[in-house]
Point group: C2
Chain length 269, copies 2
């Protein structure tokens, strides 16, 4: 069975080379896409108030704000506080956390993991107060050094277990599709802790470790199967398309990209 | 404490662009490297008998034969039988299994995993008879589609548990360094099932998903820590340097590569 077309959301990274946030909001409205997940650099360009107003005027749901985290940065505390405020202003369903990798010059992955957990425990009370769930996004192990030292759903859920309410996970198929424990851990996460569901595809071959994601249906991820697990766990929220694609989709006409996202969402997700 | 210099082994992939197997055997002897792990394409070029003779004449230990596996190939059974025979002829300490990824056109990762487990159960009795331990090498999740659908040590050990004696794992730091359960699973594997230990480094940035491995010390893997876990589990065998490096080490003078392997083994492993 195809997913509900009303549950499609656009992560604006998918058209970040072509469009401003204002253009992406208009694009979603024009194509009948009901969810949007903005990135904070584009949000800052547009201005939070103006963006919140445009998003509401177009009746869009903000399925996540990308991103908080990067707890190895010097200004992590202020930056994450601002991110929580922005998420609140946008009425975002969650703040997505890309936790950061190894500090420069360090090889201490265990230490980095302890550090990011500690930082999350420090911002969690403020996120709870603002009513913004924090969504840890486990990133593919190939991004462990540079972007996120949380690399499996199991590891992310262990952190959630330790930190209590108000924190869950963003399940991005690109990062977790390979995991032999994926079904088990999605079940463990359950309805309460699957805060976001991101889709795209894994290309064969993959030409770049960061920016060579594929459109749904163009790769080898069994999206229907993973969706059945996520829905089986009770998730009934949006399906957010997030495609970093230097060599392909960022080169195309953004209206064509959105049309393709819509079509593939129904046909191949 | 530095590792024992007598425990260095050269996986010949490290100089595969520069040297034949005969040259690699001579190179090891010349540089005082006591272990070698040949690849079967080069072994076929040289001839198994001639290679076995040269290896014995130089007093080298074959720390593994690369590779069996690729159970999705049509001729997997014959090919793996031949691999076991060759490993026996070389008195190899194990046959390394790179199990293969998804069959062409398939997205069924779970099915692929069942298939490779089934294939391993079929060759295991012959491997036992030949006295050749089979070493499952879990490959980095970024190689799940194309090279191996066994991607964590935990998953590999679950397979070992199911199949019984005569099968264990090859722990290659490049593939497993990111794993939050690495220490725990190395302990679980124990002396009996850690059949090989492969070293190199993870470069930041990594420019290619397959052939951009680093020399020990040039990347972010905490090699001393992982070595302490492996030794703590009771492993006292060779440390095999395996570096696929299109852009760097395959471009260099192979004698320089071997000298660097020796120096870095003592200084940074």
């Amino acid at each position: 069975m195809s997913p509900d077309p009303l549950l499609l959301s656009l992560n604006t990274a998918t058209v970040r080379k072509q469009w401003t946030l204002a253009q992406a909001i208009e694009g979603c409205a024009r194509h009948g896409i009901r969810g949007i997940a903005p990135w904070r650099d584009k949000l800052a360009e547009m201005g939070v108030k103006k963006a919140a107003k445009a998003i509401q005027a177009n009746g869009l749901t903000v399925t996540g704000l990308c991103r908080g985290g990067f707890f190895i940065a010097k200004d992590w505390l202020d930056d994450n506080r601002r991110a929580i405020e922005e998420a609140h202003a946008l009425r975002a369903q969650c703040l997505v956390l890309v936790v950061g990798g190894l500090p420069a010059g360090s090889k201490d992955l265990i230490g980095a993991r302890e550090q990011v957990t500690d930082c999350m425990s420090k911002i969690l009370p403020e996120a709870r107060k603002a009513g913004i769930p924090l969504a840890i996004e486990p990133l593919h192990p190939m991004q462990a050094a540079e972007r996120a030292c949380i690399n499996t759903l199991e590891q992310a859920l262990d952190v959630c277990d330790a930190l209590g309410d108000g924190i869950g996970v963003a399940v991005d198929v690109y990062h977790v599709w390979w995991d032999p424990k994926l079904e088990q851990q999605i079940r463990r996460a359950g309805k309460k802790r699957v805060l976001a569901y991101h889709i795209c595809d894994w290309l064969v071959p993959t030409r770049d470790l960061l920016n060579d994601r594929g459109m749904m249906g163009d790769g080898v991820i069994d999206l229907a199967r993973i969706r059945s697990w996520v829905e089986g766990a009770g998730y009934s929220g949006f399906h957010e398309v997030e495609i970093f694609s230097e060599l392909d989709w960022w080169q195309r006409d953004p209206d064509e990209v959105l049309k393709t996202c819509k079509a593939r969402f129904l046909k191949a997700s």
